[in-house]
């Protein structure tokens, strides 16, 4: 089939949004897989009836550094959902050369709309800092380095004064569907055969 889509001129913006969104989602996936607070995969989402968000809290200092092994199940599940709702894998595996920005833009709507829907459905996100970006902020002594990353001229003792470059994001609620025992999360999308 050949179609001649007409696209708005803001294609670069669309790409930017899309790229940013993919990053966020992959981060979220990692968070689910390796995050300190994540449940093990079979009980992910069990907390449904629990009232209120459960904020991600700072890590307790541990006696010896232990690296957790990565359980990819939740990450695979998220990839599967992204493929199903947003055709994410299909899109990333396309070779974009030879297609016009307008064509790519039309498809990116599918990815954007689907990803956004999925994000709203399963996650609640909040910025870490509420100040305006590019405004001056102060980090008092004892600030949480996991939530605030200082860069540049990092010398002396807190309080630190600096410019807020990015507000940060944190997940306040993550509620992926529970998977049935024996369900293979490596199947991101089944092959479809119409009879």
């Amino acid at each position: 089939m050949e179609f001649n889509p007409v696209m708005p001129t803001s294609i670069d913006a669309l790409h930017l949004i899309l790229g940013g969104l993919s990053l966020v989602l992959l981060l979220v996936a990692l968070l689910r897989g390796a995050g300190k607070n994540s449940d093990n995969s079979t009980t992910a989402g069990v907390s449904t009836p629990a009232p209120g968000p459960t904020p991600v809290t700072a890590a307790e200092p541990k006696p010896a550094p232990v690296l957790k092994s990565n359980d990819p199940e939740s990450a695979l599940q998220l990839l599967g959902l992204l493929q199903q709702e947003a055709r994410f894998i299909d899109f990333l595996n396309e070779d974009l050369t030879g297609f016009s920005d307008a064509e790519i833009g039309a498809v990116s709507r599918v990815v954007h709309e689907g990803s956004k829907k999925l994000l709203d459905q399963y996650f609640a996100l909040a910025p870490i800092r509420t100040e305006e970006e590019e405004s001056r902020v102060t980090l008092d002594a004892g600030f949480d380095p996991a939530q605030n990353r200082v860069t540049g001229n990092v010398v002396g003792e807190p309080p630190f004064n600096g410019v807020l470059v990015h507000r940060g994001w944190k997940v306040t609620k993550a509620d992926l569907p529970r998977l049935a025992e024996g369900h293979d999360p490596k199947i991101l999308a089944p092959a479809e055969v119409e009879l």
Binding site: E2, F3, Q84, F99, A180, E181, G182, H183, E192
Partner: protein
């Protein structure tokens, strides 16, 4: 209250979505009791129902789509059908059913509720999915309704093992327009899965209860004596109308449900489909032919686009993209757009046309009764249906406020159902109603706000269980119809003419639950051991007919023929073939359903008259 019974549970068994809400009827400690007394009103909660959203994935969502999918043995593996309380078998209910059914409609059972009130079919016989091939298991509309209820029961019992649903006080909602047979069947579906502590409640009433509870004590300030509240409930598949009058008794405000509308099979799904076909026509004109799966995806896309366009006055068009089915997206994705103008023409003008109060739905005589299928509304104009309802019920408020009118003039309007979440549609509907009122020289009606349009019915039903325990205001209603049995009058036969029919009133309009009529004087001869069928009629407009009244003449508008009813006398103690003279008495039981009973002249026994006759 017995052990284990703690919650008042409301179930909205909808045409497209079912919802369960509950309310703790016995606050566990003194604090919360005091709190409840302070605020005056308890809050209901909505159960997040565990369900398959995909094969192998379980999620808890507030709504359970009322769909059932008969999966093929090879289609999904048994492990992918696990629910928290066990495996579901090959029958899937909820989101996963809708998801799978979208691509394989022949295995999907949908709109079971509409079939439940379709008198043209045997509602206990396995007929759904309609026209399915032989190797697809079929179930009856009754069994499908029971399956949805059973899923809700399992989800509840998994969540509250200490308080099984069977032991809770349950209020199940039905459309106000359901006839006695459909009400009976709904109750039967609930009883078949062990839900015996049951009351039925009309959906628009439930929506109003929800509003009353949400408004707290404020509701008394928002309405006053003399108000007539019009409840408009437009759901996914049906439109339901009711009128409630506000009166006063001993200084307290009272609510009286004074009229209900016909059962109109017209709702949000029709609107999405109408938009999809509009877009399809546009693409056809561009020479792009659509395949069935693309139309389906388009319908889905139209729902989102519609909400965006009707919600945001700034938007002029929403792009719509139908991706290819295969893994190659680029080059084969279909792109179009839905404009504000198209949505307004199709939905606002198509479904909510600006019409005069005298413009009523165009009815074409239906084809032969042999056709199988749901009796969808032929006229999509919701406002025309509304105009017809208000005119037909012109005298409904006469008992309360006197003065005959050419149509009943609501002073307040309460909306319910997902369709009316769209501000544009809600505004148009209000504008049409207020246009009628203005022309008649009446004050414009107020919109009662604060309603939660998707979940109000279940919430209100849960609250109703609490009201039944003696808290808060109760809506008085009773039967929304008067009921009549047809009698062939004993006249000399005229060749070629059917014997003239008389209608005997057996149950009056407004008959309240827990009451019964005295047996009438009219006797019927029943043959022992043989079922006898009567023609049966209902009227929502003849409000003053008393039981025993015999009508010789009525207009088609006044009396509507319902499916026939059947009385059969067991042969015990009598010889088969004997003719026994009986009279008919009506009773409205605590459940809220009508019972007709045949009482022999000696009065010792009573036999139930069946509304749902199996072999027609």
């Amino acid at each position: 209250m017995s052990e284990g019974s703690r919650y008042s549970v409301g179930i909205d068994l909808g045409t497209t979505n079912s919802v369960l809400a509950y309310l703790d009827a016995t606050p566990s400690d003194a604090d919360s009791a005091a709190q409840a007394a302070d605020s005056g009103n308890p809050t209901e909660q909505v159960l997040a129902v565990d369900q398959l959203t995909q094969p192998g994935a379980v999620e808890a969502r507030a709504q359970l789509p009322s769909f059932l999918y008969q999966a093929h043995v090879a289609e999904v593996s048994a492990t992918d059908l696990s629910l928290p309380w066990g495996e579901s078998g090959s029958q899937l209910v909820g989101y996963a059913a809708r998801f799978l059914g979208a691509k394989t409609p022949m295995r999907l059972v949908a709109s079971a509720k509409s079939w439940l009130c379709h008198s043209g079919v045997d509602r206990r016989s396995p007929l759904l999915p309609l026209n399915a091939p032989d190797d697809v298991a079929r179930i009856s509309p009754l069994a499908a309704s029971a399956a949805y209820l059973n899923h809700l029961k399992c989800a509840w019992n998994h969540r509250f093992p200490e308080h099984p649903l069977e032991q809770q006080e349950i209020t199940l909602t039905v459309p106000a327009s359901f006839d006695p047979a459909a009400r009976d069947l709904t109750a039967e579906a609930a009883r078949s899965i062990g839900l015996n502590r049951l009351t039925l409640l009309e959906e628009p009433q439930a929506a109003l209860y929800s509003w009353v509870n949400r408004s707290g004590d404020q509701w008394r300030e928002q309405v006053s004596v003399g108000d007539v509240v019009l409840v408009v409930d437009i759901g996914g598949g049906t439109t339901d109308l009711s009128l409630v009058a506000v009166t006063e008794q001993d200084g307290n405000l009272e609510l009286n449900r004074i009229a209900v509308g016909d059962h109109i099979l017209l709702g949000g799904d029709n609107m999405d489909l109408a938009l999809a076909y509009r877009v399809k026509a546009k693409l056809d004109a561009e020479g792009k032919a659509l395949q069935p799966w693309q139309i389906q995806a388009l319908t889905h896309g139209c729902r989102d686009a519609k909400e965006a366009l009707l919600g945001d006055a700034e938007l002029d068009a929403v792009p719509m993209v139908v991706p290819s089915r295969g893994s190659k997206l680029l080059g084969s994705t279909l792109r179009t757009e839905l404009t504000r103008e198209e949505v307004e023409q199709t939905l606002v003008d198509g479904f909510f046309p600006l019409v005069g109060i005298a413009e009523h739905p165009r009815q074409q005589p239906r084809g032969a009764l042999t056709q199988m299928g749901l009796p969808y509304a032929q006229d999509a104009g919701v406002t025309r249906h509304l105009a017809a309802f208000l005119c037909r019920q012109a005298n409904a408020a006469q008992d309360f406020f006197g003065s005959a009118q050419d149509f009943i003039k609501p002073t307040a309007v309460l909306f319910n159902g997902g369709v009316l979440k769209a501000p544009k549609l809600a505004q148009r509907l209000m504008a049409v109603i207020n246009g009628w009122l203005q022309q008649a020289g009446a004050e414009p009606a107020r919109l009662l706000d604060g309603a939660d349009l998707d979940l109000a019915v279940a919430r209100g039903a849960a609250y109703y269980g609490y009201v039944r325990q003696g808290h808060g205001v109760r809506i008085r209603g009773g039967l929304a119809s008067a009921y009549y049995v047809g009698i062939e009058s004993a006249m000399p036969a005229v060749p070629g003419m059917p014997p003239p029919l008389q209608a005997l009133c057996v149950a009056p309009f407004g008959m309240e639950e827990g009451t019964e009529t005295t047996p009438g004087a009219q006797e019927f001869g029943l043959v022992v051991g043989e079922p006898v069928t009567f023609r049966f009629f209902g009227s929502t407009v003849r409000r003053d007919d008393q039981p025993g009244m015999l009508l010789d003449y009525w207009s088609d508008e006044e009396l509507q023929e319902l499916p026939p009813i059947q009385a059969s006398l067991p042969a015990e103690g009598r010889s088969a073939g004997e003719v026994v003279a009986v009279t008919l008495a009506a009773r409205v039981n605590e459940l809220g359903t009508l019972c007709l009973e045949a009482i022999p002249r000696d009065g010792a026994q009573r036999w139930q008259v069946e509304f749902d006759v199996r072999d027609q």
